[in-house]
């Protein structure tokens, strides 16, 4: 029963052989891309904490009122609040879940978990990474040397402690995680989905390889010629990708390396509102920023031109001497 969570290899291969991996254009809208995410699916989320969060895609899933998604992410920030608070997800697999170190505990996460409305499944950060990596490698597990002896391991019967058949040492085998869909935001990709990531890549490469479908949102769609001029910088090959959506500022109010830093005034106002009342505060926030706007650009204009420009100025400064 516990083992049922590791996809048998034949099913993984069968899924992949059914998928159209040919070189083809796959540019579409957020609305169209959302059709890859069905209620109850396992959804892997790229980026980490407040960085390269695929916020536009999450925003669309909230608007389309998906539910019962089982989400996984390196580290979960306000994206996790939104997923729980909107009812889109009732299960998050991650290593850390709060709004950000600056703001202490998330009252939204606490309410959902402490009241049993949703599950926060905790793994060590490296274990989350190795679960995606095993999934991307097409193997059912990888061995690690952390979590041993801790309460974190005790809570995770899904992992198997073993004595190493080579050395006799204690090791923990963590099971592969192959999400049904991955949502990943990148700086640029071509119409086929060859994606280039600048700066911190987090666990996105392993996640893209592990998932059975990948939705890429991107700040820019560039030509395939431009990709081919810097193949070192390509981090995700097109045949892992099923949808490409161009969404400038697609991580707002989080950051995207080299382009914009987090929009902290908006974040602070958000945190103040939802932590003072995790039910009404969240309902009001979602209504105002997620359900009401007619488009992503309208959402951005609610965050405000000044804040967006100021975040961009800080974002670009990483390349300044």
């Amino acid at each position: 029963m516990l083992n049922a969570q590791v996809e048998p290899y034949e099913r993984l291969r069968e899924n992949l052989s059914q998928r159209d991996r040919s070189l083809r254009e796959k540019v579409m809208t957020l609305e169209e891309a959302a059709s890859f995410v069905q209620d109850g699916m396992k959804v892997g989320i790229g980026g980490s904490t407040m960085s390269r969060t695929p916020m536009a895609m999450i925003w669309e899933l909230v608007r389309q009122r998906r539910k019962n998604l089982s989400c996984s992410r390196a580290i979960t920030s306000t994206d996790g609040d939104i997923l729980f608070g909107s009812g889109v997800s009732d299960h998050i697999i991650t290593s850390w879940f709060a709004q950000g170190i600056l703001w202490g505990l998330s009252k939204v996460m606490r309410r959902h978990v402490e009241q049993g409305l949703a599950r926060y499944e905790e793994w060590s950060h490296m274990a989350v990474g190795m679960r995606f990596r095993a999934g991307g490698m097409g193997v059912p597990f990888l061995p690690i040397r952390s979590m041993l002896g801790s309460g974190v391991m005790d809570q995770r019967p899904e992992a198997k402690p073993i004595d190493c058949p080579f050395t006799g040492e204690k090791l923990l085998l963590v099971p592969a995680l192959n999400p049904d869909v991955a949502l990943i935001h990148v700086q640029r990709c071509d119409a086929y989905g060859n994606a280039q990531i600048d700066g911190l890549q987090f666990m996105d490469i392993d996640l893209a390889l592990a998932a059975n479908r990948v939705i890429l949102t991107t700040e820019r769609i560039v030509s395939n010629d431009q990709i081919r001029r810097a193949p070192d910088q390509t981090k995700i090959p097109f045949f892992c990708v099923d949808a490409v959506v161009e969404v400038p500022y697609g991580s707002a109010p989080h950051e995207c390396f080299g382009l914009y830093e987090p929009m902290l005034k908006h974040m602070e106002a958000y945190v103040g509102q939802v932590n003072s009342d995790p039910v009404e505060g969240m309902r009001d926030y979602l209504e105002r920023y997620f359900y009401a706007p007619k488009s992503w650009n309208e959402y951005l204009s609610l965050i405000g031109m000044e804040e967006v420009l100021e975040a961009s100025q800080r974002g670009r400064s990483i390349y300044n001497d």
């Binding site: 960085s51 879940f97 950000g100 002896g149 809570q155 911190l200 987090f202 666990m203 830093e261």
Partner: protein, 256 residues
């Protein structure tokens, strides 16, 4: 000691923590006080200190006034030697390239086990805390320095939950659990500097912060403390330390 400059609890925490680092070390730093203290050490005494961040950064030089809000933000990469995947930077710990892991703590016990997951019964917690992040990996795989606020409810006999293992149940129990390397090295608070007994692996006071008595420390601790035979008194923060610290964090994000 009227010449001693005035400082906050957060400031002495950062400064005493920074003094624990040695030039040339490879340090894996968490966000907040650890990041600030490691950056302070780089500026003051350790130009060859290499700082690793969980987001996937080797050898960062964080800019004054631009402290990152997490170790996964782009600011962590400023003037870095290398960026790499988040899992890969943690694997450097597993392989053994890192000298010191440096973290904050929410709750610690006499064996240096840290809890950042649950207050109360994990099955029906009073408070669900944020969780381990890289903390479990770091404390499982290298020698640890922990910087934290000294409160009775934070210094407990046994943590409610071992998120990041110290010496587990003391003695040889850490190695027997499958963690032969690393372990707690120092705990720094605004009251004292702690080490761990080589045999029992119980926390012990190595030095008192200036103006702090043994009773102060014991009164704020939820278990019976062992005091080292020779208790030192830590030198207070210098003007230079405080100035540099305040230059690094002018908005007092982590030193309020």
């Amino acid at each position: 000691m009227t010449d001693t400059p005035r400082y906050t609890a957060s400031e002495i925490l950062a400064i005493l923590s920074s003094r624990q680092l040695k030039d040339g070390q490879v340090v894996f730093a968490g966000v907040g006080t650890p990041l600030l203290a490691a950056t302070l050490a780089q500026r003051l005494r350790c130009p060859g200190l290499t700082i690793l961040f969980e987001g996937g950064v080797v050898g960062a030089f964080v800019e004054p006034g631009k402290l990152p809000p997490s170790t996964n933000d782009q600011r962590c990469t400023k003037r870095a030697n290398m960026v790499l995947g988040s899992a890969d930077v943690l694997l450097l710990l597993q392989r053994g390239y890192v000298d010191i892991g440096f973290m904050g703590g929410a709750q610690i016990d006499q064996f240096g086990n840290l809890n950042s997951s649950f207050i109360g019964d994990p099955a029906a917690p009073k408070t669900r805390l944020p969780g381990t992040g890289g903390g479990n990996d770091i404390s499982s795989l290298t020698n640890m320095i922990v910087a934290m606020k000294h409160e009775k409810r934070r210094f407990v006999e046994h943590v409610d939950f071992i998120t990041s293992p110290g010496f587990i149940r003391g003695g040889t129990s850490r190695a027997e659990s499958g963690l032969p390397a690393g372990g707690m090295f120092r705990v720094i608070t605004e009251l004292a500097v702690f080490g761990f007994d080589a045999e029992t692996r119980r926390m012990k006071v190595l030095a008192l912060n200036p103006g702090v008595s043994r009773e102060n420390v014991q009164d704020n601790t939820g278990f019976d403390l062992v005091f080292d035979e020779q208790i030192a008194i830590t030198a207070p923060p210098t003007e230079h330390e405080l100035e540099t610290l305040r230059m690094l964090d002018p908005e007092r994000l982590f030193t309020a």
